[in-house]
């Protein structure tokens, strides 16, 4: 199942980031730090999804799977 290896790697990363951002929101008392931390986490998760799941590099590389 090596063709799905990237998917599982990203899935684990997303799960870890989601748990970390929940704990971070619960523990961080400073509102500015909380906002910035959550923004960083959301940006990282969105980047992972767009890069690996939505194949963003294919847009400028022009390579398609046929």
């Amino acid at each position: 199942m090596s063709i799905f290896k990237v998917g599982w790697f990203v899935a684990v990363a997303l799960a870890v980031l989601t748990v970390v951002e929940y704990i971070f929101a619960a523990e961080m008392a400073d509102a500015t730090a909380r906002f910035l931390g959550l923004t960083l986490s959301a940006g990282t998760k969105a980047g992972l999804i767009m890069w690996f799941f939505m194949h963003l590099p294919r847009v400028w590389r022009g390579e398609e799977v046929h």
Binding site: G7, A11, E21, M28, R34, E64, H66
Partner: protein
């Protein structure tokens, strides 16, 4: 001029890959959609700052995990059909549809149990943001069902599967939107 023009070598990419054109077009659509979702997100902070009414944190975390998981099954379906693994692709789409339905049901539960009304500022942004997002989830489920029906009828293979790729990309985009909406609605005020 005409002689000069005809003497120029024909560009290698004079006839770009149609699938690539569709992909670029879909990204342009996502860009325009991002502006819409971004406006709702900015309205949330403009009206309420980081304040929020009480929300069911367990439910919010639960439906977020469900939606992220649905992106994994969607990716699995697309990767499977790219490698002619039709059976896995079918189950990947079915799993994505079911997880999408669970997410939509979770949003419904959140709406029905909300301790604030739509007439309050936070209620306005909460119901607007989750409503706009949920409408995209529902339309994504409809598109996934249509793709699944075509797949079950024997369409699509490793050479021709753009409709599945397009629908799966749309589903991932809906997931990306929730990646930003979830902390903005549930977490930014503190848990």
């Amino acid at each position: 001029m005409a002689a000069t023009a005809t003497s120029l070598p024909i560009a290698e990419h004079a006839h770009p890959d149609p699938v690539h054109l569709k992909r670029v077009g879909l990204w342009l659509f996502f860009f325009s959609e991002s502006i819409l979702f971004g406006l709702f997100l900015s309205a949330r902070f403009f009206l309420e700052g980081i304040e929020a009414e009480h929300l069911d944190q367990a439910l919010g975390l639960g439906i977020t995990i469900v939606l992220l998981l649905s992106s994994v099954t969607a990716y699995t379906a697309e990767t499977a059909i790219e490698h002619d693994r039709r059976g896995i692709a079918i189950w990947g789409l079915i799993g994505t549809i079911l997880l999408g339905l669970v997410f939509a049901a979770g949003v419904g539960v959140e709406w029905s149990t909300a301790e604030f009304s739509r007439h309050e500022a936070f209620g306005t942004v909460f119901f607007s943001m989750t409503g706009l997002h949920a409408s995209h989830v529902v339309s994504g489920i409809v598109l996934l069902v249509l793709a699944l029906i075509q797949l079950l009828r024997g369409r699509f293979n490793s050479k021709d599967h753009w409709p599945i790729s397009g629908v799966v990309m749309y589903w991932h985009f809906v997931d990306v939107v929730w990646v930003f909406y979830y902390p903005a609605l549930y977490l930014v005020q503190g848990v």
